[in-house]
Protein backbone atom coordinates (compact mmCIF):
# COMPACT_ATOMS: atom_id res chain seq x y z
CA UNK A 1 0.00 0.00 0.00
CA UNK A 2 2.55 2.51 1.15
CA UNK A 3 4.80 1.48 -1.67
CA UNK A 4 2.15 2.24 -4.24
CA UNK A 5 1.56 5.62 -2.72
CA UNK A 6 5.29 6.24 -2.66
CA UNK A 7 5.72 5.25 -6.27
CA UNK A 8 2.72 7.25 -7.40
CA UNK A 9 4.11 10.29 -5.69
CA UNK A 10 7.47 9.80 -7.32
CA UNK A 11 5.94 9.35 -10.73
CA UNK A 12 4.26 12.71 -10.41
CA UNK A 13 7.57 14.23 -9.44
CA UNK A 14 9.17 12.62 -12.44
CA UNK A 15 6.72 14.34 -14.76
CA UNK A 16 7.36 17.66 -13.11
CA UNK A 17 11.10 17.25 -13.42
CA UNK A 18 10.86 16.28 -17.06
CA UNK A 19 8.70 19.28 -17.78
CA UNK A 20 10.95 21.79 -16.08
CA UNK A 21 14.08 20.27 -17.43
CA UNK A 22 12.78 20.23 -20.96
CA UNK A 23 11.68 23.82 -20.74
CA UNK A 24 14.96 24.87 -19.25
CA UNK A 25 16.96 23.03 -21.87
CA UNK A 26 14.91 24.45 -24.65
CA UNK A 27 15.56 27.96 -23.43
CA UNK A 28 19.22 27.36 -22.69
CA UNK A 29 19.82 25.92 -26.12
CA UNK A 30 18.00 28.63 -27.99
CA UNK A 31 19.63 31.40 -26.03
CA UNK A 32 23.09 30.01 -26.55
CA UNK A 33 24.79 31.29 -29.63
CA UNK A 34 25.57 28.82 -32.36
CA UNK A 35 23.68 28.06 -35.51
CA UNK A 36 23.24 24.34 -36.08
CA UNK A 37 22.80 24.82 -39.79
CA UNK A 38 26.10 26.61 -40.06
CA UNK A 39 27.92 24.13 -37.86
CA UNK A 40 26.55 21.16 -39.76
CA UNK A 41 27.73 22.52 -43.04
CA UNK A 42 31.01 23.79 -41.73
CA UNK A 43 32.31 20.37 -40.79
CA UNK A 44 35.75 19.64 -42.29
CA UNK A 45 36.41 23.39 -42.39
CA UNK A 46 34.70 23.60 -45.71
CA UNK A 47 33.64 27.02 -46.84
CA UNK A 48 29.84 27.34 -47.01
CA UNK A 49 27.51 29.62 -48.86
CA UNK A 50 24.66 31.61 -47.40
CA UNK A 51 22.08 29.95 -49.64
CA UNK A 52 23.08 26.53 -48.36
CA UNK A 53 22.71 27.66 -44.77
CA UNK A 54 19.33 29.20 -45.37
CA UNK A 55 18.06 26.11 -47.12
CA UNK A 56 19.17 23.88 -44.27
CA UNK A 57 17.72 26.20 -41.66
CA UNK A 58 14.39 26.04 -43.39
CA UNK A 59 14.73 22.28 -43.52
CA UNK A 60 15.40 21.98 -39.82
CA UNK A 61 12.46 24.16 -38.88
CA UNK A 62 14.64 26.77 -37.26
CA UNK A 63 12.95 29.66 -38.96
CA UNK A 64 9.68 29.35 -37.07
CA UNK A 65 9.13 31.76 -34.17
CA UNK A 66 10.50 30.62 -30.84
CA UNK A 67 7.17 29.96 -29.16
CA UNK A 68 5.96 27.85 -32.05
CA UNK A 69 9.11 25.77 -31.77
CA UNK A 70 8.56 25.50 -28.03
CA UNK A 71 4.96 24.41 -28.35
CA UNK A 72 5.90 21.86 -30.94
CA UNK A 73 8.67 20.62 -28.74
CA UNK A 74 6.51 20.24 -25.65
CA UNK A 75 3.88 18.38 -27.63
CA UNK A 76 6.52 16.02 -28.86
CA UNK A 77 8.08 15.43 -25.48
CA UNK A 78 4.98 14.02 -23.96
CA UNK A 79 3.90 12.06 -26.99
CA UNK A 80 7.23 10.29 -26.93
CA UNK A 81 8.28 11.72 -30.31
CA UNK A 82 11.50 13.49 -29.71
CA UNK A 83 12.09 14.43 -33.30
CA UNK A 84 14.84 13.42 -35.68
CA UNK A 85 18.50 14.13 -35.26
CA UNK A 86 19.70 16.96 -37.47
CA UNK A 87 22.84 15.07 -38.23
CA UNK A 88 21.64 11.60 -39.04
CA UNK A 89 17.92 12.18 -39.62
CA UNK A 90 17.15 9.15 -37.47
CA UNK A 91 14.59 9.44 -34.68
CA UNK A 92 16.35 10.65 -31.55
CA UNK A 93 14.78 8.05 -29.36
CA UNK A 94 16.09 5.12 -31.38
CA UNK A 95 19.51 6.71 -31.56
CA UNK A 96 19.59 7.14 -27.79
CA UNK A 97 18.33 3.67 -27.11
CA UNK A 98 20.78 2.11 -29.51
CA UNK A 99 23.66 3.63 -27.55
CA UNK A 100 22.21 3.06 -24.16
CA UNK A 101 23.25 -0.59 -23.73
CA UNK A 102 26.92 0.25 -24.20
CA UNK A 103 26.68 2.96 -21.59
CA UNK A 104 24.80 0.76 -19.18
CA UNK A 105 27.48 -1.85 -19.55
CA UNK A 106 30.20 0.64 -18.80
CA UNK A 107 28.30 2.32 -15.99
CA UNK A 108 27.57 -0.98 -14.31
CA UNK A 109 31.22 -1.96 -14.47
CA UNK A 110 32.22 1.49 -13.27
CA UNK A 111 29.79 1.29 -10.39
CA UNK A 112 31.19 -2.07 -9.45
CA UNK A 113 34.71 -0.70 -9.33
CA UNK A 114 33.50 2.36 -7.45
CA UNK A 115 31.65 0.24 -4.92
CA UNK A 116 34.59 -2.08 -4.48
CA UNK A 117 36.96 0.81 -3.91
CA UNK A 118 34.61 2.78 -1.69
CA UNK A 119 33.58 -0.10 0.47
CA UNK A 120 36.88 -1.92 0.41
CA UNK A 121 39.08 1.05 1.04
CA UNK A 122 36.60 2.79 3.30
CA UNK A 123 36.16 -0.18 5.58
CA UNK A 124 39.84 -1.08 5.56
CA UNK A 125 40.95 2.42 6.45
CA UNK A 126 38.33 2.63 9.16
CA UNK A 127 39.31 -0.71 10.68
CA UNK A 128 42.99 0.14 10.62
CA UNK A 129 42.47 3.82 11.24
CA UNK A 130 45.70 5.73 11.71
CA UNK A 131 47.77 2.78 10.54
CA UNK A 132 49.69 2.52 7.31
CA UNK A 133 46.67 1.22 5.44
CA UNK A 134 44.83 4.32 6.44
CA UNK A 135 47.65 6.53 5.27
CA UNK A 136 47.87 4.75 1.92
CA UNK A 137 44.12 5.04 1.60
CA UNK A 138 44.31 8.74 2.18
CA UNK A 139 46.99 9.23 -0.42
CA UNK A 140 44.98 7.16 -2.89
CA UNK A 141 41.88 9.19 -2.23
CA UNK A 142 43.72 12.41 -2.77
CA UNK A 143 45.32 11.19 -5.93
CA UNK A 144 41.92 9.98 -7.01
CA UNK A 145 40.46 13.40 -6.45
CA UNK A 146 43.30 15.37 -7.90
CA UNK A 147 44.41 13.36 -10.89
CA UNK A 148 42.33 14.10 -13.95
CA UNK A 149 40.57 11.07 -15.31
CA UNK A 150 41.75 11.77 -18.83
CA UNK A 151 45.27 11.49 -17.64
CA UNK A 152 44.67 8.36 -15.67
CA UNK A 153 43.01 6.83 -18.70
CA UNK A 154 45.89 7.69 -20.99
CA UNK A 155 48.44 6.39 -18.54
CA UNK A 156 46.60 3.14 -18.12
CA UNK A 157 46.25 2.67 -21.84
CA UNK A 158 49.91 3.43 -22.26
CA UNK A 159 51.13 1.00 -19.64
CA UNK A 160 48.60 -1.78 -19.80
CA UNK A 161 47.80 -1.78 -23.49
CA UNK A 162 50.65 -0.29 -25.41
CA UNK A 163 53.50 -1.54 -23.23
CA UNK A 164 52.12 -4.75 -21.77
CA UNK A 165 49.37 -5.57 -24.22
CA UNK A 166 47.12 -6.92 -21.48
CA UNK A 167 44.01 -5.04 -22.45
CA UNK A 168 42.78 -3.52 -25.68
CA UNK A 169 43.27 0.21 -25.99
CA UNK A 170 39.76 1.06 -26.97
CA UNK A 171 36.41 -0.02 -28.28
CA UNK A 172 33.72 -2.29 -26.98
CA UNK A 173 33.72 -6.05 -27.03
CA UNK A 174 34.58 -8.80 -24.57
CA UNK A 175 35.18 -8.19 -20.90
CA UNK A 176 38.77 -7.13 -21.49
CA UNK A 177 37.50 -4.01 -23.16
CA UNK A 178 35.68 -3.06 -20.00
CA UNK A 179 38.62 -3.22 -17.62
CA UNK A 180 40.42 0.03 -18.29
CA UNK A 181 37.39 2.29 -18.83
CA UNK A 182 35.64 1.02 -15.74
CA UNK A 183 38.78 1.47 -13.68
CA UNK A 184 39.08 5.02 -14.93
CA UNK A 185 35.48 5.68 -14.06
CA UNK A 186 35.46 4.08 -10.66
CA UNK A 187 38.88 4.52 -9.09
CA UNK A 188 38.99 8.25 -8.53
CA UNK A 189 35.49 8.79 -7.27
CA UNK A 190 35.55 5.55 -5.35
CA UNK A 191 38.64 6.64 -3.47
CA UNK A 192 37.08 9.98 -2.57
CA UNK A 193 33.97 8.33 -1.23
CA UNK A 194 36.07 5.86 0.66
CA UNK A 195 37.44 8.78 2.64
CA UNK A 196 33.99 10.09 3.38
CA UNK A 197 32.83 6.63 4.36
CA UNK A 198 35.76 6.22 6.71
CA UNK A 199 34.99 9.48 8.40
CA UNK A 200 31.35 8.55 8.78
CA UNK A 201 32.21 5.19 10.21
CA UNK A 202 34.63 6.58 12.74
CA UNK A 203 32.10 9.17 13.86
CA UNK A 204 29.68 6.34 14.41
CA UNK A 205 32.01 5.07 17.09
CA UNK A 206 30.68 7.82 19.31
CA UNK A 207 27.41 6.01 19.40
CA UNK A 208 26.65 4.13 22.52
CA UNK A 209 25.52 1.03 20.74
CA UNK A 210 29.02 0.52 19.48
CA UNK A 211 30.34 0.48 22.99
CA UNK A 212 27.57 -1.86 24.04
CA UNK A 213 28.44 -4.19 21.19
CA UNK A 214 32.09 -4.10 22.15
CA UNK A 215 31.11 -4.97 25.68
CA UNK A 216 29.30 -7.99 24.32
CA UNK A 217 32.56 -9.20 22.88
CA UNK A 218 31.80 -8.51 19.25
CA UNK A 219 34.99 -7.88 17.35
CA UNK A 220 35.73 -4.44 16.01
CA UNK A 221 35.62 -5.60 12.44
CA UNK A 222 32.28 -7.28 12.97
CA UNK A 223 30.87 -4.11 14.44
CA UNK A 224 32.24 -2.09 11.58
CA UNK A 225 30.80 -4.36 8.96
CA UNK A 226 27.41 -5.09 10.37
CA UNK A 227 26.53 -2.25 12.65
CA UNK A 228 28.38 0.85 11.63
CA UNK A 229 28.68 0.31 7.94
CA UNK A 230 24.99 0.43 7.18
CA UNK A 231 24.63 3.63 9.14
CA UNK A 232 27.63 5.28 7.68
CA UNK A 233 26.88 4.33 4.12
CA UNK A 234 23.65 6.22 3.98
CA UNK A 235 25.11 9.52 2.77
CA UNK A 236 27.35 7.55 0.44
CA UNK A 237 24.37 5.84 -1.11
CA UNK A 238 23.03 9.20 -2.24
CA UNK A 239 26.33 10.11 -3.78
CA UNK A 240 26.81 6.77 -5.41
CA UNK A 241 23.32 7.14 -6.80
CA UNK A 242 24.10 10.53 -8.23
CA UNK A 243 27.29 9.23 -9.73
CA UNK A 244 25.69 6.18 -11.14
CA UNK A 245 23.10 8.36 -12.76
CA UNK A 246 25.88 10.49 -14.20
CA UNK A 247 27.59 7.43 -15.52
CA UNK A 248 24.36 6.13 -16.99
CA UNK A 249 24.06 9.44 -18.76
CA UNK A 250 27.39 8.64 -20.36
CA UNK A 251 30.80 9.67 -19.16
CA UNK A 252 31.97 11.97 -21.84
CA UNK A 253 35.67 11.91 -21.14
CA UNK A 254 36.03 8.19 -20.62
CA UNK A 255 33.85 7.33 -23.56
CA UNK A 256 35.76 9.57 -25.96
CA UNK A 257 39.16 8.42 -24.81
CA UNK A 258 38.25 4.75 -24.97
CA UNK A 259 36.16 5.24 -28.05
CA UNK A 260 33.25 3.66 -26.29
CA UNK A 261 30.12 3.86 -28.45
CA UNK A 262 27.86 5.05 -25.69
CA UNK A 263 25.71 8.03 -24.85
CA UNK A 264 28.58 10.20 -23.64
CA UNK A 265 30.52 10.26 -26.86
CA UNK A 266 27.26 10.65 -28.73
CA UNK A 267 26.10 13.64 -26.77
CA UNK A 268 29.37 15.51 -27.02
CA UNK A 269 29.15 15.22 -30.79
CA UNK A 270 25.60 16.42 -30.64
CA UNK A 271 26.59 19.38 -28.52
CA UNK A 272 29.38 20.31 -30.87
CA UNK A 273 27.00 20.05 -33.79
CA UNK A 274 24.22 21.93 -31.97
CA UNK A 275 21.98 19.00 -32.75
CA UNK A 276 19.04 20.40 -30.80
CA UNK A 277 16.68 17.44 -30.96
CA UNK A 278 19.39 15.10 -29.75
CA UNK A 279 20.51 17.34 -26.91
CA UNK A 280 16.96 17.92 -25.80
CA UNK A 281 16.04 14.29 -26.10
CA UNK A 282 19.14 13.35 -24.23
CA UNK A 283 18.51 15.76 -21.42
CA UNK A 284 15.03 14.42 -20.95
CA UNK A 285 16.31 10.90 -21.13
CA UNK A 286 18.96 11.75 -18.58
CA UNK A 287 16.50 13.42 -16.26
CA UNK A 288 14.22 10.41 -16.36
CA UNK A 289 17.20 8.22 -15.57
CA UNK A 290 18.24 10.55 -12.85
CA UNK A 291 14.95 10.69 -11.10
CA UNK A 292 14.52 6.94 -11.43
CA UNK A 293 17.89 6.31 -9.85
CA UNK A 294 17.00 8.63 -7.04
CA UNK A 295 13.71 6.91 -6.48
CA UNK A 296 15.79 3.80 -6.16
CA UNK A 297 18.11 5.51 -3.71
CA UNK A 298 15.15 6.61 -1.65
CA UNK A 299 13.89 3.07 -1.70
CA UNK A 300 17.24 1.86 -0.45
CA UNK A 301 17.08 4.44 2.33
CA UNK A 302 13.65 3.18 3.07
CA UNK A 303 15.00 -0.30 3.47
CA UNK A 304 18.13 0.63 5.37
CA UNK A 305 16.57 2.95 7.90
CA UNK A 306 13.38 1.70 9.52
CA UNK A 307 12.98 5.02 11.29
CA UNK A 308 12.15 6.66 7.99
CA UNK A 309 9.28 4.33 7.34
CA UNK A 310 6.93 5.73 9.91
Amino acid sequence: MRLIYFLGDRFLQLIIVVFTVSTLTFLLLRLTPGDPAYILLHANDMPVSETAIDALREDLGLTAPLWVQYGQWLMNVFTWQWGDSYVSNEPVITELLSRFPATVELAAAGLLVMLAVTVGLGVLTAVFSNGWIDRTGRVLAIIGAAVPSFWLALLMIYFFSVKQGWFPTMGRGEWEHLVLPSLTLGLGIGAVYARVLRKNMLEMFNQNFVKASMARGLSKSHILMFQVFKHASMPIVTMLGTNFAFMLGGSIIVETIFNWPGLGSYIIEAINARDYPVIQGYVIFASILFVSIHILVDLIFFIIDPRLRT
Binding site: M1, R2, L3, N206, N208, F302
Partner: protein, 266 residues
Amino acid sequence: MSLLELVQVTKEFPFRPRKHLWWKKAGRFQAVKQVSLQLNQGECLGVVGESGSGKSTLAKLIMNLVPVTKGDILLNGCSIRQMKDLEVFKRMQLVLQDSHSALHPKMSVREIIQEPLLNFFPGENIKREATCLQLMEMAGIDKNLLDRRPYQLSGGQKQRVCIARALAVKPDVIIFDESIASIDQEAQQSILNRLKYIQAQENVAYLFITHDIETLKEFCQRVAVMYEGEIIDIFEEWKISQLTHPYSRLLLETSEETEIKIAQES
Protein backbone atom coordinates in the same frame (compact mmCIF):
# COMPACT_ATOMS: atom_id res chain seq x y z
CA MET B 1 -10.13 24.20 36.26
CA SER B 2 -7.16 21.95 36.17
CA LEU B 3 -3.92 22.95 34.62
CA LEU B 4 -3.56 19.98 32.35
CA GLU B 5 -6.33 17.79 31.18
CA LEU B 6 -6.18 14.65 29.06
CA VAL B 7 -9.42 13.67 27.40
CA GLN B 8 -9.69 10.12 26.15
CA VAL B 9 -6.22 10.20 24.67
CA THR B 10 -5.35 7.31 22.40
CA LYS B 11 -2.14 6.65 20.52
CA GLU B 12 -1.70 4.03 17.88
CA PHE B 13 1.52 2.71 16.45
CA PRO B 14 1.95 0.57 13.41
CA PHE B 15 2.33 -3.02 14.40
CA ARG B 16 4.53 -5.41 12.53
CA PRO B 17 2.64 -8.51 11.48
CA ARG B 18 4.21 -11.89 12.03
CA LYS B 19 5.89 -12.27 8.68
CA HIS B 20 6.36 -8.65 7.98
CA LEU B 21 7.09 -7.23 4.59
CA TRP B 22 8.00 -3.66 5.00
CA TRP B 23 5.90 -2.32 2.17
CA LYS B 24 2.75 -4.00 3.45
CA LYS B 25 0.32 -1.86 5.31
CA ALA B 26 1.16 -2.41 8.93
CA GLY B 27 -1.39 -3.34 11.53
CA ARG B 28 -2.03 -0.95 14.39
CA PHE B 29 -1.78 -1.38 18.05
CA GLN B 30 -2.71 1.00 20.79
CA ALA B 31 0.15 2.02 23.05
CA VAL B 32 -2.07 4.40 24.99
CA LYS B 33 -5.74 3.60 25.31
CA GLN B 34 -8.32 6.28 26.09
CA VAL B 35 -6.43 7.83 28.91
CA SER B 36 -8.12 10.61 30.83
CA LEU B 37 -6.18 12.50 33.46
CA GLN B 38 -6.16 15.78 35.22
CA LEU B 39 -3.23 17.58 36.70
CA ASN B 40 -3.79 20.54 38.96
CA GLN B 41 -1.53 23.41 39.63
CA GLY B 42 1.13 22.67 42.21
CA GLU B 43 0.27 19.03 42.28
CA CYS B 44 2.55 16.06 41.89
CA LEU B 45 1.12 13.10 40.10
CA GLY B 46 3.07 9.88 40.08
CA VAL B 47 2.79 7.34 37.30
CA VAL B 48 3.85 3.75 37.71
CA GLY B 49 3.31 0.82 35.49
CA GLU B 50 4.79 -2.18 33.89
CA SER B 51 7.62 -1.72 31.49
CA GLY B 52 6.14 -1.01 28.08
CA SER B 53 2.79 0.07 29.38
CA GLY B 54 2.92 3.40 27.60
CA LYS B 55 4.22 5.81 30.20
CA SER B 56 6.89 7.38 28.05
CA THR B 57 4.52 7.52 25.15
CA LEU B 58 2.04 9.36 27.31
CA ALA B 59 4.70 11.85 28.29
CA LYS B 60 5.58 12.50 24.67
CA LEU B 61 1.93 12.90 23.81
CA ILE B 62 1.51 15.53 26.45
CA MET B 63 4.45 17.44 25.11
CA ASN B 64 2.99 17.21 21.63
CA LEU B 65 6.16 15.50 20.42
CA VAL B 66 4.14 12.77 18.77
CA PRO B 67 0.68 13.49 17.44
CA VAL B 68 -2.27 11.97 19.27
CA THR B 69 -4.40 9.56 17.30
CA LYS B 70 -7.62 10.26 19.16
CA GLY B 71 -8.69 12.47 22.02
CA ASP B 72 -7.37 15.82 23.09
CA ILE B 73 -4.93 17.36 25.51
CA LEU B 74 -5.84 20.65 27.07
CA LEU B 75 -3.44 23.02 28.73
CA ASN B 76 -5.37 25.66 30.66
CA GLY B 77 -8.39 24.64 28.65
CA CYS B 78 -6.62 25.18 25.39
CA SER B 79 -5.83 22.30 23.05
CA ILE B 80 -2.11 21.93 22.65
CA ARG B 81 -2.62 20.99 19.08
CA GLN B 82 -3.64 24.54 18.41
CA MET B 83 -0.68 26.00 20.22
CA LYS B 84 2.71 26.75 18.78
CA ASP B 85 5.16 24.17 19.98
CA LEU B 86 7.45 26.76 21.54
CA GLU B 87 4.54 27.95 23.63
CA VAL B 88 3.91 24.42 24.80
CA PHE B 89 7.54 24.00 25.66
CA LYS B 90 7.56 27.23 27.60
CA ARG B 91 4.79 25.91 29.80
CA MET B 92 5.81 22.28 30.03
CA GLN B 93 9.09 20.47 30.08
CA LEU B 94 9.97 16.85 29.72
CA VAL B 95 13.02 15.04 31.03
CA LEU B 96 13.44 11.93 28.97
CA GLN B 97 14.34 8.50 30.16
CA ASP B 98 17.45 8.20 28.03
CA SER B 99 19.83 10.88 29.22
CA HIS B 100 22.74 9.83 27.06
CA SER B 101 21.25 10.70 23.71
CA ALA B 102 19.47 13.71 25.11
CA LEU B 103 22.64 15.75 25.25
CA HIS B 104 24.33 17.20 22.20
CA PRO B 105 27.75 15.56 22.08
CA LYS B 106 29.58 18.74 21.16
CA MET B 107 28.14 21.09 23.77
CA SER B 108 29.50 21.57 27.25
CA VAL B 109 27.39 21.34 30.37
CA ARG B 110 27.44 25.10 30.67
CA GLU B 111 26.14 25.56 27.16
CA ILE B 112 23.47 22.95 27.64
CA ILE B 113 22.08 24.50 30.79
CA GLN B 114 22.34 28.06 29.54
CA GLU B 115 20.56 27.24 26.30
CA PRO B 116 17.01 27.59 27.73
CA LEU B 117 18.03 30.66 29.71
CA LEU B 118 19.26 32.28 26.55
CA ASN B 119 16.15 31.41 24.63
CA PHE B 120 13.41 31.97 27.12
CA PHE B 121 14.89 34.76 29.17
CA PRO B 122 16.88 36.69 26.64
CA GLY B 123 16.96 39.87 28.73
CA GLU B 124 18.80 38.55 31.72
CA ASN B 125 22.29 38.48 30.38
CA ILE B 126 24.15 39.36 33.53
CA LYS B 127 22.35 36.93 35.72
CA ARG B 128 22.78 34.01 33.38
CA GLU B 129 26.00 32.63 34.74
CA ALA B 130 24.71 32.92 38.28
CA THR B 131 21.40 31.30 37.44
CA CYS B 132 23.26 28.49 35.76
CA LEU B 133 25.30 27.81 38.85
CA GLN B 134 22.22 27.99 40.97
CA LEU B 135 20.47 25.45 38.79
CA MET B 136 23.43 23.16 38.95
CA GLU B 137 23.45 23.32 42.63
CA MET B 138 19.76 22.57 42.71
CA ALA B 139 20.28 19.48 40.60
CA GLY B 140 23.34 18.56 42.62
CA ILE B 141 25.93 18.91 39.91
CA ASP B 142 29.46 19.65 40.91
CA LYS B 143 30.75 23.04 39.75
CA ASN B 144 33.89 21.68 38.17
CA LEU B 145 31.82 19.73 35.65
CA LEU B 146 30.85 22.99 34.02
CA ASP B 147 33.08 22.62 31.00
CA ARG B 148 32.79 18.89 30.52
CA ARG B 149 31.08 17.41 27.53
CA PRO B 150 28.39 14.75 27.90
CA TYR B 151 30.62 11.76 27.18
CA GLN B 152 32.84 12.82 30.06
CA LEU B 153 30.05 12.51 32.59
CA SER B 154 28.80 9.61 34.59
CA GLY B 155 25.27 8.33 34.13
CA GLY B 156 23.89 10.12 37.15
CA GLN B 157 25.58 13.34 36.25
CA LYS B 158 24.01 13.28 32.81
CA GLN B 159 20.58 12.81 34.32
CA ARG B 160 21.09 15.72 36.62
CA VAL B 161 22.16 17.92 33.73
CA CYS B 162 18.89 17.04 32.03
CA ILE B 163 16.96 17.96 35.14
CA ALA B 164 18.78 21.26 35.51
CA ARG B 165 18.03 22.05 31.91
CA ALA B 166 14.33 21.44 32.41
CA LEU B 167 14.23 23.51 35.57
CA ALA B 168 15.87 26.41 33.81
CA VAL B 169 12.79 27.00 31.71
CA LYS B 170 10.64 27.63 34.80
CA PRO B 171 7.64 25.90 33.32
CA ASP B 172 4.24 25.18 34.83
CA VAL B 173 4.50 21.47 34.36
CA ILE B 174 7.55 19.23 34.39
CA ILE B 175 7.34 15.64 33.35
CA PHE B 176 10.04 13.40 34.74
CA ASP B 177 10.36 10.14 32.91
CA GLU B 178 12.50 7.85 35.04
CA SER B 179 14.79 10.81 35.55
CA ILE B 180 16.42 10.04 38.82
CA ALA B 181 16.90 6.35 38.37
CA SER B 182 20.68 6.31 38.03
CA ILE B 183 21.33 8.75 40.82
CA ASP B 184 22.37 7.48 44.19
CA GLN B 185 19.96 7.47 47.03
CA GLU B 186 21.35 10.44 48.88
CA ALA B 187 21.45 12.63 45.89
CA GLN B 188 17.99 11.49 44.92
CA GLN B 189 16.74 12.58 48.24
CA SER B 190 18.29 15.99 48.00
CA ILE B 191 16.95 16.52 44.53
CA LEU B 192 13.48 15.51 45.60
CA ASN B 193 13.67 17.97 48.44
CA ARG B 194 14.68 20.72 46.09
CA LEU B 195 11.83 19.86 43.78
CA LYS B 196 9.42 20.00 46.63
CA TYR B 197 10.76 23.37 47.56
CA ILE B 198 10.37 24.68 44.05
CA GLN B 199 6.89 23.28 43.90
CA ALA B 200 5.93 25.13 46.99
CA GLN B 201 7.57 28.33 45.81
CA GLU B 202 6.41 28.49 42.26
CA ASN B 203 3.38 26.29 42.19
CA VAL B 204 4.80 23.90 39.61
CA ALA B 205 3.02 20.70 38.80
CA TYR B 206 5.00 17.50 38.34
CA LEU B 207 4.16 14.38 36.45
CA PHE B 208 6.51 11.86 37.92
CA ILE B 209 7.08 8.64 36.06
CA THR B 210 9.05 6.20 38.17
CA HIS B 211 9.29 2.65 39.33
CA ASP B 212 10.41 3.47 42.78
CA ILE B 213 7.40 3.00 45.03
CA GLU B 214 9.27 4.57 47.95
CA THR B 215 9.64 7.83 46.06
CA LEU B 216 6.06 7.78 44.97
CA LYS B 217 4.80 7.31 48.46
CA GLU B 218 6.83 10.14 49.76
CA PHE B 219 6.71 12.60 46.95
CA CYS B 220 3.41 12.35 45.14
CA GLN B 221 -0.01 13.40 46.17
CA ARG B 222 -1.69 11.07 43.73
CA VAL B 223 -0.53 8.04 41.87
CA ALA B 224 -1.79 6.61 38.60
CA VAL B 225 -1.08 3.03 37.64
CA MET B 226 -0.74 2.17 33.98
CA TYR B 227 -1.15 -1.26 32.54
CA GLU B 228 -1.14 -2.10 28.86
CA GLY B 229 -1.81 1.44 27.83
CA GLU B 230 -4.66 2.10 30.20
CA ILE B 231 -4.80 3.89 33.50
CA ILE B 232 -6.21 1.24 35.73
CA ASP B 233 -6.06 2.99 39.05
CA ILE B 234 -5.70 6.44 40.41
CA PHE B 235 -5.41 6.63 44.19
CA GLU B 236 -4.13 8.86 46.91
CA GLU B 237 -3.16 6.41 49.58
CA TRP B 238 -1.18 3.24 49.36
CA LYS B 239 -3.70 0.80 50.67
CA ILE B 240 -4.71 -2.49 49.18
CA SER B 241 -8.30 -1.59 49.79
CA GLN B 242 -8.08 1.39 47.46
CA LEU B 243 -6.76 -0.66 44.59
CA THR B 244 -9.17 -2.21 42.16
CA HIS B 245 -7.00 -3.85 39.56
CA PRO B 246 -5.07 -7.05 40.24
CA TYR B 247 -1.89 -5.58 38.71
CA SER B 248 -1.75 -2.67 41.10
CA ARG B 249 -2.24 -5.02 43.99
CA LEU B 250 0.55 -7.19 42.77
CA LEU B 251 2.72 -4.11 42.50
CA LEU B 252 2.09 -3.12 46.06
CA GLU B 253 2.49 -6.62 47.38
CA THR B 254 5.82 -7.08 45.65
CA SER B 255 7.21 -3.90 47.06
CA GLU B 256 6.05 -4.70 50.55
CA GLU B 257 7.42 -8.20 50.30
CA THR B 258 10.83 -6.80 49.51
CA GLU B 259 10.73 -4.51 52.42
CA ILE B 260 9.69 -7.25 54.79
CA LYS B 261 12.48 -9.44 53.54
CA ILE B 262 15.06 -6.77 54.01
CA ALA B 263 13.71 -5.96 57.40
CA GLN B 264 13.99 -9.62 58.38
CA GLU B 265 17.56 -9.87 57.17
CA SER B 266 18.80 -6.87 59.01
